[in-house]
């Protein structure tokens, strides 16, 4: 049965949310640190749900511990549970770092995690492990906020002042392991020394092992994180980051800074703030920044990739021009995707995110240059569906959760971002750079062609 079609959405409740909760994001970011075991400080369900969700997308082991609150812990505070959890994680996993995320519950109780950790560090035997804490109550932000909160916490804790090392820091966003591998490949091709944080390109997309590894190999090392303080420059992808809550309906109770803010203000590292490099424009900004930082020309191979992408645009334009699309996901990702869709001639008529930053709409309007598209900040799938039914769409670009709308409307859907749990290979989707954009472009064009072909009375096989 369908929800009624309504022009305006006066609803208070969130119906089919387009966001996940903050500890999911922070735990994913912690998975991108070498030797790190994430721990969620709260009741065990949050940790189990987050694991389950990450696993169904990445299809990898994802070990996230929990401090496992009881009713008593809820009343008297979770300090004892947290310490016990840390003891046990250390004895089983021997991690170098434990990345702790607080849940709605422990934040509401008001557990002072930093002072609990301070006490804990004092106990002999505990000093050899590092403990990082990201404050991630989900009533203040989505999984994207949580993700960037963790990165900021890591930079804050580990970046050191010292001798200049000439490195370029890449502060990643919610990207796929394939995206992260691509970024590293580009840096290697440019022969630019770099630090990528977080780097779950291996840990969340492991090869088959000969021997089981409790903590998968790979990830940003502690030394690399220390080096960030003396880097030559940093590139931060996206600009909403963990500031969603600041610009949202409720102002944050504490001052929110992004990882880039810390590097810029406390370590005077030069910052480049650019969107996710999706599409020609956005990718140009990225490669331009690399050129600026390194003073080097782009390797011929990358220039060729750009050329191929343009070529593809020219070839495929006739199939997709003017098609109406709906796109949704995390703010920074959607901002870049919208730019890309506009660039290839698709008309993004519904652009939505579950995040709540006011920046979102502003940036989207700049990208599309129109006031006519529906931009939903703090939106949910039912709102999207209501609009979609009225507007009429040709295509949906987003993660698996919007599939039901595509199904209802009988239109094609291109799966991007996270979570993709109704297809194989979500972890290997490449979105970034000229190469990723080209793959994305081909997928979109083919989805449109297939729709046309499937519904054609003739059955052309020469398009």
């Amino acid at each position: 049965m369908d929800a009624k079609v309504i022009n305006k959405t006066p609803f208070v409740s969130t119906r089919n949310a387009c966001k996940m909760c903050a500890p999911l994001g922070s735990s994913l970011a912690f998975k991108g640190v070498e030797g790190c075991t994430p721990l969620i400080h709260g009741s065990q369900g949050c940790s189990t749900y987050v694991r389950r969700y990450l696993i169904s997308h990445f299809k990898e082991p994802v070990d996230i511990a929990s401090s496992n609150f009881t009713q008593e812990a809820t009343i008297f505070g979770g300090g004892t549970n947290l310490k016990l959890a840390l003891d046990n994680v250390k004895s089983q996993y021997k991690p170098k770092i434990i990345g702790i995320s607080t849940t709605c519950l422990s934040e509401t109780i008001g557990d002072d995690v930093s002072s609990i950790l301070m006490d804990y560090r004092e106990i002999p035997g505990n000093e050899n492990t590092a403990y990082v804490h990201a404050q991630t109550p989900s009533y203040q932000g989505s999984h994207a906020d949580g993700f960037h909160e963790a990165i900021a916490a890591l930079v804050k804790q580990f970046a050191r002042r010292g001798e200049a090392n000439g490195k370029t820091v890449l502060l990643g966003g919610l990207m796929s392991p394939a995206d992260l591998r691509y970024l590293k490949e580009v840096m290697q091709a440019m022969q630019m020394p770099f630090v990528l944080l977080p780097d779950y390109s291996e840990t969340m997309d492991n090869p088959h092992w000969d021997e089981y590894k409790l903590i998968p190999e790979g990830g940003t090392t502690m030394e690399e994180m220390e080096e960030m303080g003396n880097a030559r420059a940093f590139i931060q992808f996206g600009e909403v980051l963990n500031k969603g809550r600041l610009a949202g309906r409720v102002s944050g109770s504490h001052h929110v800074v992004s990882a880039g803010d810390i590097l810029q203000k406390e370590f005077s590292v030069t910052g480049y703030h650019i969107p996710f490099p999706i599409g020609i424009d956005n990718s140009d900004l990225f490669f331009d920044a690399l050129k600026n930082i390194s003073g080097k020309e782009l390797p011929a191979e990358i220039a060729k990739e750009r050329g191929r992408l343009i070529d593809a645009y020219v070839d495929g334009h006739k199939y997709i021009f003017g098609k109406k699309a709906m796109v949704y996901g995390e703010e920074d990702f959607v901002i870049a995707l919208t730019g890309f869709l506009t660039e290839i001639g698709i008309d993004p008529v519904i652009i939505a995110t579950g995040g709540e930053s006011k920046l979102f709409e502003q940036r989207i309007r700049e990208k599309t240059g129109t006031e006519n598209s529906i931009v939903l900040s703090g939106g949910d799938f039912e709102q999207m569906a209501e609009y979609a039914r009225q507007i009429g769409l040709d295509l949906i670009v987003g993660h698996s959760k919007g599939y039901y709308i595509a199904r209802e409307l009988g239109i094609p859907m291109v799966r991007v971002g996270f979570p993709v749990h109704d297809r194989e290979g979500g972890q290997r989707l490449l979105h970034l750079g000229y190469r990723g954009s080209n793959q994305l472009f081909d997928t979109i064009v083919n989805a449109v062609i297939q729709q046309k072909q499937d519904n054609s009375p003739v059955g052309y096989k020469y398009m």
Binding site: F11, S13, S43, G45, C46, I55, L84, Q92, Q140
Partner: protein, 545 residues
């Protein structure tokens, strides 16, 4: 198959294995863990396993939370109730269509709200100032949108803490809207696992839904409820067709392919059959007290088990026609089962399985494996209690701890109107003929000597188990899947069925046999070792200039 496993079966000494497993833990933790790990002796009825106790913080468990058991498991598969999760967004999002319970509304016009995930999506200010107002509005939203028959509200951890009175809100809106609205205080921290949530759900459905509709005529001549069957992968559909063929009317299933509407008159039946004892025995017991409806345990996993269970239902009614139809059904179906078993069994016989899952599946699926000649060498539940391991006879001895005290025990009295003395008499007469009721012997008496029984197995423990025992197949859930497969052992998901199923009934047995053939006879694991690993890189000679 797996080249690594070619030279077994060297089975480690289970006592030594247990010792090694515990060595890793700090002393205090090891002491506690030791009680949850047993080397089985099916003849020894004095063996006691520790179950349904808190997972130790920092130990990575399979378990979910109370809310997951309440909303996800029990209420999730019911299609005509709008479920509103009161709390921040995550709890609701993660439970949105993530179990593969199927449902089939009779027509496209009949309500099905399962695809929807409603949340109050609590924000900062709601946490500070309370969320009751928002909850009221959310209930109103659901009403405005769907005009549903009933609305259920689920409270998550932060809500319990800020003290919103969801029950007062439900009462108020119920009076205002004139539909049934009920709330569950199923905050995640309330209990040890999902199990606490099952109990909370059972209580509320019993007190607020079952038997509130006294207007309907009886549904048929021989009427039953099926309990603890959740229609994962279409299991219930298979079973529904059997009952129909037997001439037995299925009034309600708790809760696969179900409606709240059917629960409202579910008191008007002759028998409750219980599939998953863990999650639903509370309702079965309470219904017997209140309405006199007898219950017994069934198992539809495995062809022989299915035949046995169907026979028992027919025998309960003692009707010649029902019995004849049942026998005809069994004979016909077993024929097709046999054909597939004959093909698959020779290929997989002698292999070993492990299963760590749920509160009944780790037991039930051993049947299916046995039918294929596969032995279960280690098993355990994720959220069961002692009675699911050792049998219901231990229930009086189970210690009541702080966690179990959190959950209300309803006071149930005989219903003056609907209690059926005739059923009590029927039960007595059958009992005199050794027909068993309220029976569940548990998993351990059916497992072989020296097999391992491990409750609430941790991630780390399963890794060691695999390393030492190298089973041919491991059954668990999605969280364990990739851990186990990275070890070169195929994992079959018994929560979601890996997108397969049904596995219940005769058709389920056939599906499962075929699935085992696919999983156990694949060549993929042989490809793990690249050829250059064992051979010299360069074959042939190098020509030097």
């Amino acid at each position: 198959m797996i080249s690594k496993n070619k030279n077994k079966k060297h089975v480690p000494n289970p006592e030594e294995f247990k010792e090694e497993l515990l060595k890793k833990y700090p002393l205090k933790v090891a002491k506690k863990r030791a009680k949850g790990i047993l080397v089985n002796d099916p003849k020894d009825t004095g063996m006691e396993i520790q179950a349904n106790v808190r997972t130790i913080p920092g130990i990575i468990t399979q378990r979910g939370c109370t809310y997951a058991g309440c909303k996800g498991v029990i209420l999730g598969p019911t299609r005509d109730v709008v479920n509103i999760v009161h709390g921040p967004i995550g709890c609701s999002f993660y439970a949105w269509l993530t179990r593969r319970n199927q449902t089939k509304p009779p027509t496209a016009q009949d309500p099905n709200y399962i695809p929807y995930s409603f949340s109050t999506d609590m924000q900062d200010s709601n946490i500070v100032f309370g969320g009751e107002k928002k909850l009221k509005d959310a209930i109103q939203d659901a009403w405005d949108l769907f005009k549903p028959r009933s609305i259920a509200v689920f409270s998550t951890c932060p809500i319990g803490l800020i003290g919103d009175d969801i029950h007062a809100v439900c009462r108020e809106k119920k009076a205002e809207l004139g539909i049934n609205i009920f709330g569950f205080s199923c905050e995640g921290y309330k209990g040890v696992s999902q199990s606490a949530g099952h109990h909370i759900a059972n209580n509320k459905i019993f007190s607020d839904v079952i038997g509130i509709d006294l207007t309907l005529p009886r549904a048929g001549k021989f009427v039953i409820n099926m309990m603890g069957e959740y229609n994962i992968g279409g299991d219930s559909f298979a079973l529904e067709s059997y009952f129909e063929e037997m001439g037995v009317t299925l009034k309600a299933t708790f809760s696969g392919n179900s409606t709240i509407e059917s629960y409202e008159s579910a008191h008007d039946v002759d028998l409750n059959i219980v599939m998953c004892h863990r999650s639903i025995n509370y309702i079965a017991e309470m219904m017997e007290k209140k309405y006199g409806i007898p219950w017994f345990k069934v198992n539809f996993i495995g062809a022989q088990a299915t035949a046995k269970s169907l026979r028992r239902i027919a025998e309960y009614f003692g009707d010649e026609e029902v019995m004849a139809k049942t026998e005809a059904l069994i004979a016909r179906e077993l024929e097709s089962v046999k054909a597939v078993a004959n093909k698959v069994k020779p290929l997989v016989q002698g292999k070993t399985a492990m299963m760590f899952v749920g509160g009944s599946r780790a037991h039930h699926y051993q049947e299916l494996f046995r039918e294929l000649g596969i032995e279960t060498i280690a098993a355990g539940y994720e959220f069961a209690h002692r009675d699911d391991y050792e049998g219901r006879r231990v229930i009086p001895d189970i210690k009541i701890d702080a966690d179990s005290r959190n959950i209300e025990e309803l006071k149930v009295v005989k219903d003056k109107v609907s209690f059926k003395d005739s059923l009590v008499e029927k039960k007595k007469a059958l009992k005199d003929k050794n027909f068993e009721f309220e029976n569940y012997e548990g998993m351990m008496p059916e497992m072989s000597k020296n097999s391992l029984v491990i409750d609430d197995i941790s991630h780390w423990e399963s890794e060691l188990l695999i390393e030492k025992y190298k089973p041919d197949i491991f059954c668990a859930g999605i969280k364990e899947k990739y851990v186990v497969q990275k070890n070169g052992i195929p994992l079959k998901q018994l929560h979601s069925y890996d997108y397969g199923g049904p596995y219940a009934g005769f058709v389920g047995a056939i599906n499962f046999y075929n699935e085992m053939e696919r999983m156990l006879c694949t060549d993929i694991w042989k490809m793990i070792d690249a050829p250059w690993k064992n051979e010299p890189v360069c074959v042939g000679s190098v020509v030097e200039e």
